[in-house]
Symmetry: C2
Subunit: 471 residues, 2 copies
């Protein structure tokens, strides 16, 4: 190990090789404080060449690396194991915006760029960088790519994967693949880009990326709408997709129980819809024509929805502050859950055609088998993505309840997901949290293919081992 | 071989194992008649199980397979070699539309479905299947996926890759990966789907796919616009992207020389714009609101473009027939080239920010080094995708000219592509045509990664060997 550290110091300045416990501590525990590990060093490179040199040394000494960005993931993908033998490669010093190419509508970002700073840079230039999610003030673009992050704009602009045109990646051999290109069409061989995206640092280390920009909308309108049942929320989605089409940029669903929890912990976040209906839907339209045009379109569609009895109430935000408060209401559910104490999270996707039956049946089974649990179900309905979270019954000790029931509750939910041909990880990835569930979910053939890929690209198993897939 | 055939006949009815020359002939030459090969059998399975059983036998006997759909590709990816030892696996009998799920906006297609029949099925149900390209009457969805086909709707809806949510694939071992899911978000491990898409049957055989549908627009308007130079065409694109945003569904560029060739061979296809300007741009807007809305928007943007002197003339199609004639004009360029005789094709992408300098410099170099050549430059400008084709000088023998100059002309164009960080294959793939160019274009690191993937997933090298990458 000392030889390794000595050689490292020829690559990195000493102050960027953290080996003291107090220096390493901030890198060892994830943002939700659910995962924690040990590392014998935390390395802070600032260039791809430094990353490549570090990986070469790790390959030589067979030392495993854990790539890390903002460490805001939910699945422990960027947290080391407990062996104390792994090194963390945190990319926060690689935070340059290398280029913004307005004519090509692209921005080239290093892995350590904070998502929000990329959004701001684009906006300064009159463009939109559409990736948007709760952790945007601290998560980094490298981590967004490594986990193929989703968020609230997927409905219109796709996942992180869909926003990326080119990558720079350090391979397990410590070579640099320069795939930094800003092309909308490129059919020259295998899709290496998408292979690295979403692989959570297990196949290579993403050091930079060319991302798409879009013209900024001139006007946005946000509304909260009341639906009596899940079938109506889906009818509403279909109506908006047919009539507003790509002007529809947000379609978020929140159940009554989710918003009750919000109101308990953040009374100022109370639902402005009368009586807190069974389902509250947040809808956002974004337009490139005019405020008048989009406002009129929104009102016409809502009228139609009223006439068809799809919705029973609606509040249109009268200004940006109110629009933001609607979004905050949505975002505060996660925080309210944290305030309430431990809960069991499920980040799932269900085909829209099965969503109604999934929710009805799963709710029923859950209440039958675990009386008193609170189903904190909300999410990006437009993508079929539910955060179907379970809070313990009031009056029980959350820790004890979860320890007793976690496995059974996961099994119930995931069983229903399989029945509906859904996904057990919509946007949060696999990391260490879902490693064991993955094999059964994907099936043997897919799981074998994944192992073949991991073995081929990282035969020494030094890149974030035992995350996503074990070999 | 006889053993192999005997065992095959336990998998497939005899009439679907073609071994006679006259039966095999239609499968041996591609649509453009540029590539031809030999095969000792053509196999016509109708289920994934049959495909899997065939691949297992091929693995056992180490016989190479060439998967084939409509055989309309431009790069020889579906044509066997000349050894006579390969078998062709044509998937045209796997042509079922397995499901259309309106609520989920997805359609599940078998690999042998003709693209046009998928479009029609979607339209019957009030939905759009956006993939659209010249060969749509005969190309098949399996081939579209295998080559990640582009076409005229990429600007708004993306490449074939972007339209696919799930796949069924037969692996090199003859196992079936069931990845048939219709989910907009799914972060459960490595992106196998995108790895198979665009791999031209070298990593696995795509047998079915779940594809996205979109609500049909209620109105479309098509216009032809005159620009004096390439910088103006790009300014026009930016203007339309900012103002019409995702209503912009087509943006095709045709040079004067391209349309001159059209007029020569198809006089009824003459450019309706006065004097056939240096650059003619075909613009299509599609709307989900109303005919009036989109028509007004189109006129407003064109007025703005006139005022800014970006365009000098415009003709808006007054009815569907005229709109179709504008598109036919665009599509007939390829046919006019075929009528004119052999020509040298380049299917390239250039970042929009470099397009002006690319065209000016390459045109100049081309005319300087190869006096008299006709530059038939046209393409999907909105994607930066040019079909930068070179026709021999008038009065020279095309065959002799091409034999003498093909290599030099390719070198000139591809050199310019590299300088601009473009792609040497935008939408047609690699196949056998560009196999030798790929290594230099991708660089050693990317090329090595591709070889590792091929070796890992097809260690016996039985899936379409010596296409895309050689191991």
């Amino acid at each position: 190990m000392q030889n390794f550290i000595n050689q490292l110091s020829q690559v990195l300045e000493k102050k960027y090789i953290l080996t003291q416990d107090e220096d390493k501590a901030p890198y060892l525990t994830d943002w939700r404080k659910r995962f924690t590990g040990k590392a014998f060093a935390v390395l802070l490179p600032s260039t791809s060449n430094e990353v490549a040199a570090i990986v070469k040394l790790c390959a030589q000494y067979q030392i495993a690396l854990v790539p890390q960005g903002g460490h805001t993931g939910f699945c422990g993908g960027a947290t080391p194991d407990n062996s104390g033998k792994q090194v963390i490669l945190n990319l926060k010093r690689m935070n340059q915006i290398r280029e913004i190419d307005i004519a090509n509508q692209t921005i080239t970002l290093e892995a350590g760029c904070i998502l929000q700073s990329a959004q701001e840079k684009a906006a300064e230039n009159g463009y939109l960088f559409p990736l948007s999610l709760g952790a945007e003030g601290s998560c980094m673009i490298g981590g967004n790519l490594a986990t193929n992050a989703g968020g609230t704009n997927v409905l219109r602009y796709g996942n992180t994967r869909d926003l990326c045109l080119g990558l720079e990646v350090v391979t397990a051999k410590g070579e640099i693949w320069n795939g930094i290109k800003g092309l909308r069409k490129d059919n020259t061989g295998y899709d290496l880009r998408d292979l690295f995206i979403g692989s959570e640092g297990t196949l290579g280390i993403i050091t930079a990326a060319v991302m798409k920009l879009y013209p900024l909308p001139v006007s946005q309108w946000t509304t909260l709408v009341a639906c009596e049942n899940i079938a109506s929320t889906i009818a509403l989605l279909t109506l908006f997709q047919k009539r507003a089409n790509s002007l529809l940029t947000g379609f978020e669903m929140m159940t009554r129980e989710s918003l009750n929890l919000n109101e308990k912990h953040f009374p100022q976040m109370a639902n402005p819809l009368q009586g807190n209906p069974p389902y509250t839907v947040l809808i956002e339209l974004s337009d490139h024509e005019s405020e008048e045009h989009v406002r009129q379109l929104l009102e016409t569609i809502l009228e139609d929805a009223f006439e068809k009895s799809i919705i029973s109430d609606a509040v249109i935000a009268s200004n940006l502050t109110q629009a933001n408060s609607f979004w905050h209401m949505r975002e505060h559910i996660t925080l309210a859950q944290a305030e309430e104490g431990a809960n069991l999270k499920h980040d799932i996707t269900i085909p829209l055609s099965s969503l109604d039956s999934f929710i009805r049946e799963t709710d029923e089974l859950m209440r039958e088998k675990f009386p008193g649990v609170r189903i904190i179900n909300f999410g990006h309905l437009g993508d079929g993505n539910l955060h179907y979270n379970i809070a313990p019954p009031l009056g029980t000790d959350p820790k004890t309840f979860n320890e007793t029931n976690e496995k059974l509750i996961h099994e119930l939910v995931y069983g229903q997901v399989e029945r509906c041909k859904g996904s057990i990880s919509a946007e949060h990835g696999v990391g260490q949290l879902k490693l064991d569930d993955l094999r059964g979910h994907k099936g043997e053939v897919a799981h074998d293919l994944m192992k073949m890929l991991k073995t081929a690209l990282d035969p020494q198993n030094i890149l974030n081992p035992h995350k996503v897939v074990s070999i």
